[in-house]
């Protein structure tokens, strides 16, 4: 450590090998690189320090001329601090280790190591200034480049019209992924010189110094003639000192995506749709936190919208937390909210219809009952449904075929349920505010929704007509089954019933949960969910036949065990299902159900398919 003091402690804090850690004002633009990374690289001797450049250089110059030629840090803004720092260096240095290093006083000619480093100075081909020969070289073509210029070179910032970010190219040979290699001098001074054994030059700067300092770099230069790959640990790339380039690109992309996905939010009031705001669109690139902000930032204007916005945003954040815990990024949030809004709006409508149908179903069921209790098939199926709903239906010995579809539906339904029931919370209240979904997910429907916001009835019809019809049919039959309790249902009721258990269960549990009640109805879930994860709504309808058979087996993972035992133990089966919904429902209010929810949210892709399938199949 004796060396330490003798090699000039004054430099330790802020210089490396007589160069600065900070730019010397050659460029006046914004310092948009990561200065702390640059500093570290300089300290690590992986990047040349910011030497004060010489305006000119002649080999014949003596130290005095060299020091005089040093850039005077002319730009007051950029230069000031550097100047004062440099000055304070010198003074502190001279006062602290005066006896050791008189030559450290910068202006002393003929014996200054500060001047000595400039021996054999190299002109940077970009700024045309001269730097000590330990300068950076391009990794690809071995051209000199000073650190001042190097930190200026970067990727072109992406713009909303230019959504790519190509790595900066070498200014000399235009190779992509510009990077430099720096070979430090064999001696060390300033930061990081503690452990190193500084060649005797600090103590004997006179006369010898120039040669000692001069020789190594030039020989190094000759040695270095190969090129380095951009990944080489010796290389410092432009991306390394601007690690935020990806974030920048992502931000711009997100902004563009958001803009592109922006949708008008309509609120359904009675029979009309009223535009209440604009969604931010779904954005994958944004981290959870930004999502809320971005959305909030965009949704300005309109008193109604404002209040609603802020409310939702708050919930949004809560939900984000919830989703985050479940491993779901905020990007799904918006989608969920949209889904939920749509679902809710449908719900209202469906509720009404349901009542009507229930009445009708009741009638039908009664008829069916009257017709005779009996055919084996109908027995087997009907019970299944009724069992789960009504424990009383214990009478029916279900066949394997009967239950399996049921379980399929159930599982799919349950898997969907959570995601949706959670959403209501986010969208705040069960007020039907149909948010058109991102077009990416629901191309056709979304567009129609958007395009015809003024005709809600039409919209409702559309939905109803598709999967709803089958659903409603299912519902009807379910209701019938439920009412009939144990009574052999009609054949057509068969599959619908499969769905029914889940429905009724949900409804029951839902009602008990109060606010969440509306959210729980599975039929809606099934209807809406496909939209979320299923890019092609039609797929669900086409696949049915094929999907439904295998589905039971695959999907049974959850309800698998209950399935066989369900028939005999009606209570258990309903228990089996009910919990899942309860979880869902509770998840809406609390964060408890993180475990069960996670798979559920991801399930929709397959879940809804089967659900819809089963429904449609029978009815068709």
């Amino acid at each position: 450590m004796g060396n330490t003091s003798s090699s000039g402690r004054g430099h330790h804090e802020e210089t490396v090998d007589f160069g600065s850690l900070n730019p010397q004002g050659v460029y006046t633009g914004p310092r948009d690189w990561n200065q702390s990374i640059v500093t570290q690289l300089i300290v690590d001797r992986k990047l040349a320090p910011f030497y004060r450049p010489l305006d000119d250089y002649e080999e014949s110059w003596d130290d005095e001329q060299i020091l005089a030629a040093r850039k005077e840090l002319p730009e007051p803004d950029a230069g000031d601090s550097s100047i004062t720092r440099a000055e304070s260096h010198t003074s502190s240095l001279s006062s602290r280790s005066h006896h050791k290093r008189p030559s450290a006083v910068a202006k002393e000619p003929g014996r200054s190591p500060e001047a000595a480093v400039y021996r054999g100075a190299v002109e940077c081909p970009i700024c045309f200034l001269y730097y000590p020969s330990n300068i950076n070289y391009s990794r690809c073509c071995n051209q000199a480049i000073c650190t001042e210029c190097f930190v200026q070179i970067k990727r072109a910032d992406p713009t909303t019209t230019h959504l790519v970010s190509e790595p900066a190219c070498c200014p000399y040979c235009v190779q992509p992924n510009f990077g430099v290699v720096y070979t430090p001098p064999p001696w060390r001074a300033g930061i990081g010189s503690e452990g190193a054994t500084p060649p005797s030059w600090p103590d004997s700067p006179r006369g010898q110094t120039p040669q000692t300092l001069d020789a190594p770099p030039s020989s190094l230069m000759k040695r270095r003639r190969k090129s380095f790959s951009a990944e080489s640990p010796d290389v410092v790339t432009t991306d390394q000192i601007r690690p935020d380039w990806e974030a920048k690109l992502a931000a711009v992309r997100a902004a563009v995506t958001r803009r592109a996905n922006r949708r008008i939010i309509m609120r359904q009031v009675g029979d009309r749709l009223i535009p209440v705001g604009v969604t931010s669109g779904r954005v994958h690139a944004l981290p959870t936190g930004d999502e809320g902000q971005g959305e909030g930032g965009e949704g300005n204007g309109g008193a109604d919208r404002g209040s609603r916005r802020s409310r939702r945003r708050q919930q949004n954040q809560d939900l984000n937390q919830l989703l985050g815990q479940m491993g779901i990024g905020g990007q799904d949030l918006e989608e969920l909210m949209v889904m939920e809004a749509m679902r809710l709006s449908l719900l209202e409508h469906e509720e009404q219809q349901r009542k009507e149908r229930e009445a009708e179903a009741k009638r039908l069921a009664e008829e069916a009952q009257a017709q005779g209790e009996g055919t084996g098939t109908s027995e087997s199926t009907a019970p299944t449904a009724s069992e789960s709903v009504l424990p009383a239906a214990s009478e029916s010995p279900t066949t394997t075929t009967g239950p399996s579809p049921t379980s399929t539906v159930l599982s799919s339904a349950s898997s969907e349920g959570p995601s949706i029931s959670r959403t209501p919370d986010a969208s705040g209240g069960s007020q039907g505010s149909p948010l058109p979904p991102p077009s990416a997910n629901l191309p056709e429907r979304a567009s129609t929704d958007q395009l015809s916001p003024a005709s809600p009835s039409q919209r409702g019809r559309q939905r109803r007509s598709s999967s709803i019809s089958s659903l409603s049919e299912a519902l009807r039959s379910v209701a019938a089954a439920a009412v009939a309790v144990g009574s052999p249902a009609v054949d057509e009721v068969l599959q619908p019933e499969v769905v029914s258990p889940s429905v009724s269960t949900t409804l029951q549990s839902a009602t008990s949960t109060g606010t969440a009640s509306a959210l729980a109805s599975p039929r809606l879930d099934e209807e809406e969910l496909p939209a979320v994860s299923n890019p092609e709504p039609q797929a669900a309808e086409t696949v049915p036949a094929t999907l439904s058979p295998p589905a039971p087996g695959e999907e049974n993972s959850t309800p698998a065990s209950p399935e066989p035992s369900r028939t005999p133990k009606s209570t258990e089966s309903s228990d089996e299902e009910a919990p899942s919904y309860n979880v869902l429902l509770s998840s809406a209010t609390s964060i408890a159900s993180s475990t069960s929810n996670k798979p559920l949210l991801e399930a929709p892709a397959s879940g809804p398919d089967t659900g819809v399938t089963t429904n449609g199949d029978p009815s068709a």
Binding site: T28, C127, C149, I153, T161
Partner: protein, 156 residues
């Protein structure tokens, strides 16, 4: 002195000491903001006998940022009739945009443009000349942005 001034000072010194390449003449370089050079294609070419003038405008970040270069269009000079040169003098050349390198210089740009003219097969304006010229910004360096942005603004 900003880096641009320093660089240009050295480029100017170089021009004055070493001279300019054939067909290129320094017309005016009174400051480090705007320079004028004349350009002419020697030998056989579509532009035989024609002399053009180039205006260079530098910002303080030169040479990190490209200079704004265009042909002078006034009483004395006209923009060359070229598929990459608009009638207002703006030039569609990659090295003046995305492919600019700080290693290039005023003279390097002149030489590039000279060879661009020399290799021209057919004297004609860019296909979108009228549309572009009608909306072109004063500074051709802004062309890309302004142009695209107005495009995108119109799209939505």
């Amino acid at each position: 002195m900003a880096v641009s001034s320093r660089r240009l000072q050295k480029e100017l010194t170089e021009i004055k000491t070493a001279g300019t390449p054939c067909g290129i003449t320094l017309l005016k370089a009174d400051d480090f903001q705007t320079w004028f050079l004349s350009l002419e294609v020697l030998g056989e070419s579509q532009y035989k006998g024609e002399v053009f003038a180039l205006m260079f405008r530098f910002d303080p970040q030169y040479p990190i940022s490209a200079p704004a270069v265009q042909f002078v269009v006034d009483d004395k000079y006209k923009a060359p009739l070229h598929p990459h040169v608009y009638s207002n003098g703006h030039i569609c050349a990659s090295i003046l945009g995305g492919e600019w390198s700080p290693v290039l210089s005023v003279i390097a740009v002149c030489i590039t443009l000279q060879s661009m003219l020399a290799s021209c097969k057919e004297k004609k304006r860019p296909p979108d000349n009228d549309r572009y010229v009608a909306h072109a910004p004063d500074n051709p360096k802004k062309t890309r942005f302004v142009y695209h942005e107005s495009d995108s603004a119109a799209a939505p």
